[in-house]
């Protein structure tokens, strides 16, 4: 418990900054919607002028963009990008910062098991992400109800919004795994930005070619808002794959960290 609270405190600042950035992004994006909706025909005409490949790559669907959920599905992509970076940062930091700040000796010579250390750190990171998501959900729903021109399905809106959390958990797990496997992570940001954008572009590429298989390769494409709007549910195969990936990454992290030699600095 003491480790959990300590870790939570350590992430306090970064959680606050990331959460605020995402909230500002949400407010900004939603404030664009009323003008979109007002001049729907103009906007559609303008967007149809864009090359089809580009529209597909960025996930623009001209037909639905002027409805609230359609607009939300489009801009949500960028919110997940921001969220993914936050989660990846967090995941990569939690183990590697002990090595970087040379505090691993402090923690590991205390009467605790390595499993307890990882568990506390994971729970703290998890808590940070939950806080971010709750704040995000509240603000997003508030903005949406403020913006709405016609009624929209709140449950679908929430279904879409919650996928931010799923994507974040996947990236956090990947980050934890990387930071355990790599001998020393000198700086977190290059790794997290690099990884997140790699997956981001894989997603864009896959959308352009329309290749279904590519979707399995990037968490960004596991939850298609268009599918959720149509069916009011998730594509369960992706949920299971995502869950499997998270369990595998976390499980391996526990195993490797338990066996790892902590080198002197």
């Amino acid at each position: 418990m003491n480790m959990y609270l300590h870790e939570l405190k350590a992430y306090r600042k970064s959680t606050f900054i990331w959460t605020s950035s995402i909230l500002v992004l949400v407010v900004l994006l939603f404030s664009m919607f009323p003008s979109f909706a007002r001049e729907a025909d103009e906007v559609k005409k303008l967007l149809e002028g864009f090359p089809e490949a580009l529209r597909k790559a960025v996930g623009l669907e001209v037909e639905s963009i002027t409805s609230l959920l359609g607009f939300y599905s489009y801009v949500f992509f960028y919110i997940t990008l921001c969220g993914a970076i936050q989660a990846m940062n967090l995941g990569t930091s939690i183990v590697s910062k002990e090595v970087r700040e040379k505090t691993a000796d402090f923690l590991l010579t205390k009467p605790v098991t390595r499993t307890q250390i990882i568990t506390s750190k994971l729970l703290a990171a998890f808590t940070s992400l939950v806080i971010t998501n709750i704040a995000f959900l509240i603000v997003a729903i508030t903005m949406a109800s403020y913006d709405k021109t016609e009624s929209f399905s709140l449950s679908q809106f929430i279904l879409i919004s919650i996928t931010l959390f799923f994507i974040q958990i996947m990236f956090m797990s990947l980050g934890v795994f990387l930071s355990v496997v790599l001998r020393k992570v000198k700086a977190v940001l290059p790794i997290s930005l690099g990884t997140v954008f790699a997956f981001f572009f894989i997603g864009m590429f896959g959308a352009t070619t329309g290749d279904e298989k590519v979707r399995y390769m990037t968490p960004f494409k596991y939850f298609e808002p268009s599918y959720i709007i149509k069916n009011s549910t998730y594509e369960w195969s992706y949920i299971f794959i995502g869950l499997g990936f998270v369990l595998l990454a976390i499980g391996l992290s526990y195993y490797i960290y338990g066996k790892k030699d902590i080198q002197a600095v």
Partner: protein, 294 residues
Amino acid sequence: MKAIEINKLTKTYGNNRGITDVSFSVEQGEIFGFIGPNGAGKSTTIRTLLSLIYPTSGNAKIFGKDCIQFAPEIKKEIGYLPSEVFYYDNMKVMDLLKYSASFYKKDCTSRIKDLAEVMQLDLTKKIDDLSLGNKKKVGIVQGLLHEPKLIILDEPTSGLDPLMQQKFFDLLIEENKKGATILFSSHILSEVQRLCDRVAIIKEGRIVKVEKISTLKENNYKKFKIEMPSKIDKQHFNISGVNNLEVKDQTVSFLFKGNINSMMNKIAEVEISNLWVEEPDLEEIFMHYYEKED
């Protein structure tokens, strides 16, 4: 039951560093020195005891329990001070010490205050703002605050001024009197000599010798320095038992181990103008161990 029992401990890395067949044991209540030059394997041995790294073969027991298998349990009784201390920079000293104390199920507040007073450590400062010596003090308080039964120190004195070193040693002696066992690793021999009962000497990953400090110092070696009026024949003193033979101008000096009478006879054969026979300090004996195989 021994405080520490190391049995054929081996750790190999990809390259050649590491330790080979390290075996020695430390009695309860002992202050045990662990000396060797940098890179000889002191830290590797200590880090294995603390299960920071895992041995390739062999094992070690602390208070009769395997140091890997029962690591969390054993660590309740261990206080560890690493050679380089780095702590969570953005914490205040007191917060860090409280965090450290929170791992042990006892109230350490008054103990922290006492230790900080002895070491003249300002508890309200941020760790980030501390000098190296003051960070070291945080490390000392951190290592001692839960009154451990076994104190493991890895080159603990670097960065401490002589006055603080003395206070630190007094603290250690006090803990030792209360029953704590101390494993003191260092490459500075004078401090080991000052503090320890017995010593293990490690060289290139192997234990060269485990000996009582007093035996090392008194029984084995005498340091001879002889001044002569005439030219010196170096070979005259080059008999068995003589080490570190050196001739400088009119004086010859060496370490001698063996029957003192045979040396006195040897000296009587030549004309001398002055003679010193001294106890060598550990440093000189130690150099001898290291140079022997060169």
